[in-house]
């Protein structure tokens, strides 16, 4: 009798352990799998639209803008980058800031983005940070270079949306670097968001002018 109880107990423990591990793996897999699939799709689309030869630069930029809005949490990133100054900005300033923020990224990062999502992209692994966020680790091989660039994509999933919230290149986060850059600019403009917007306007105008000349 005792023997039998121990046996049953053992079975039960085993079952419990199995079901628990099953529960955790399915939960972790769902976010990891969707993050990886998400990046795969993005890579396919980017390959299609950004690597076509002979397309004028401004046209490529507009294609990237479309992808950027579709695959990145643009508003969330923009707000986070502005930090505590977001609340100090008027609704009009917030709107203009977000537009300029988008402009700055699409104009200055179109080439790098094409490179990172192109044929050199190799997904190494995907790890869930929690049930909503996963990091996709990738390695980018560049033409004419033996060096491999480590790029981590931080992808966040909510009930209906899945978007990239940060790109970490060789351990350096693009969002953190921008936050530092924008914060410093605001401080040098007397803590005013209007000052930052002014600098952003000039910067994006200059970049666009340069791009359309190419």
């Amino acid at each position: 009798m005792i023997k039998r109880r121990t046996y049953l107990g053992g079975c039960f423990t085993l079952l419990l352990a199995a079901s628990m591990s099953w529960a955790t793996t399915t939960r972790a897999e769902s976010i990891e799998d969707s993050a990886k699939a998400f990046l795969d799709t993005l890579s396919g689309k980017a390959l299609q639209s950004l690597t076509v030869k002979g397309v004028p630069r401004m046209e490529r930029i507009e294609k990237f803008r479309k992808l950027f809005n579709e695959y990145f949490a643009v508003k969330t990133i923009g707000q986070w980058v502005l930090g505590r100054y977001w609340r100090k900005a008027t609704p009009e300033q917030q709107k203009e800031y977000l537009d300029l923020f988008e402009d700055l990224i699409v104009v200055s990062y179109v080439d790098r983005f094409a490179q990172y999502t192109g044929s050199g992209l190799k997904i190494v692994k995907t790890l869930a940070n929690n049930e909503k966020v996963a990091t996709v680790y990738s390695e980018i091989t560049q033409p004419n270079s033996a060096q491999v660039v480590r790029v981590n994509w931080r992808i966040r999933k909510s009930s209906k949306l899945i978007k990239i919230v940060d790109v970490v290149v060789e351990g350096t986060s693009m969002s953190i670097t921008m936050k530092s850059d924008f914060g410093s600019t605001i401080r040098n403009k007397g803590g005013e968001v209007a000052g930052l917007i002014e600098v952003l306007r000039d910067k994006t105008a200059a970049l666009k002018k340069e791009a359309s000349a190419q």
Partner: protein, 288 residues
């Protein structure tokens, strides 16, 4: 400066005249004014930036930038565009191979035996079948290159980084990394041997080549960063710190890297709210 940004190299012959100019610059420009303690957010910013000598640092940054525009960047451009990439790769490999003793010593000083073994294996493979380090067959056998320096060792030993500083010529640094730079140069057996045989010029030649190699490797990344930055100084300061953190962690992801869409009450980073964020609030993550 830019050349030194990731370089941890060791061309150090700025000389005493430069030191005097620098000292004068520090005395003239002085330090950043600490904010009024009643503005807590401003105080938090000031502490996080960890850049009390910002005006001086900006002045040196400007000097370095001018030096880069006048010398390093043109040289790197010519090197990048007019020499075959296979040659550039060979040079890069030889420099990495010559760095073995420093990397090996720092692997050991940090108690990382696996990495020390990797460094040693690389050296023997690449020095022999890699034709005196020109090739990197070791990487194909799974012994991939990794860098180490004494600045990282000091970090592993628990020494804090200290305030951000910009060194003339070398660029972004901090006291810990500056000490590391000097120690690595002093303990380098190749440097010691060359110096004992009165061939100091070869030490400088190697340092110069290393500078060009590093500047060339970071060429596009720096161009992009400058292009997209509103305040290049601030971007580079942030990038340097993050990059060093990554090197110290040997490329392992940090537990505490904040990111958009996640609340981040993390030491050293401003806690931010995300008003109106469709992603809402969340707990900082750590499962791995």
């Amino acid at each position: 400066m830019l050349l030194a940004f990731m370089q941890r190299g060791r061309e150090k012959h700025s000389g005493s005249r430069l030191a005097i100019v620098l000292l004068a610059a520090i005395l003239v420009t002085g330090c950043a004014t600490a904010p009024n303690p009643k503005y807590t957010a401003a105080v938090a910013d000031y502490e996080i930036l960890n850049d009390p000598a910002e005006p001086t640092n900006r002045a040196i940054f400007k000097f370095n930038k001018a030096l880069d525009t006048a010398i390093f960047k043109p040289v790197a451009t010519v090197y990048k565009d007019y020499t075959p990439s296979i040659f550039q790769r060979g040079v890069h490999n030889v420099l990495n191979n010559l760095r073995t003793p420093i990397i090996f010593a720092n692997d050991l000083l940090q108690g990382k035996l696996q990495r020390a073994w990797n460094t040693l294996a690389r050296f023997f493979i690449n020095s022999t079948i890699g034709f005196a380090g020109l090739g990197d067959p070791a990487a194909d056998y799974g012994f991939k290159f990794h860098n180490e320096d004494f600045g990282q060792t000091l970090a592993a030993w628990g020494l804090p980084e200290g305030p951000y500083i910009v060194l003339p010529v070398f660029g972004p640094s901090n006291p810990r990394d500056a000490i590391g730079l000097v120690v690595d140069a002093l303990i380098d057996p190749l440097n010691i041997w060359l110096s004992n045989t009165n061939r100091e010029e070869l030490i400088f030649a190697r340092a110069g080549v290393r500078g060009i190699d590093e500047r060339t490797s970071n060429f596009d990344a720096l161009e992009d960063l400058e292009k997209s930055s509103l305040d290049f100084y601030a971007s580079l300061r942030s990038l340097y710190r993050q990059h060093r953190g990554d090197e110290i962690r040997d490329g392992e992801p940090s537990v505490n890297i904040p990111m958009p869409g996640l609340s981040n009450i993390i030491p050293g980073i401003t806690p931010d709210e995300e008003p109106g964020s469709d992603f809402g609030k969340n707990v900082a993550s750590r499962t791995q």
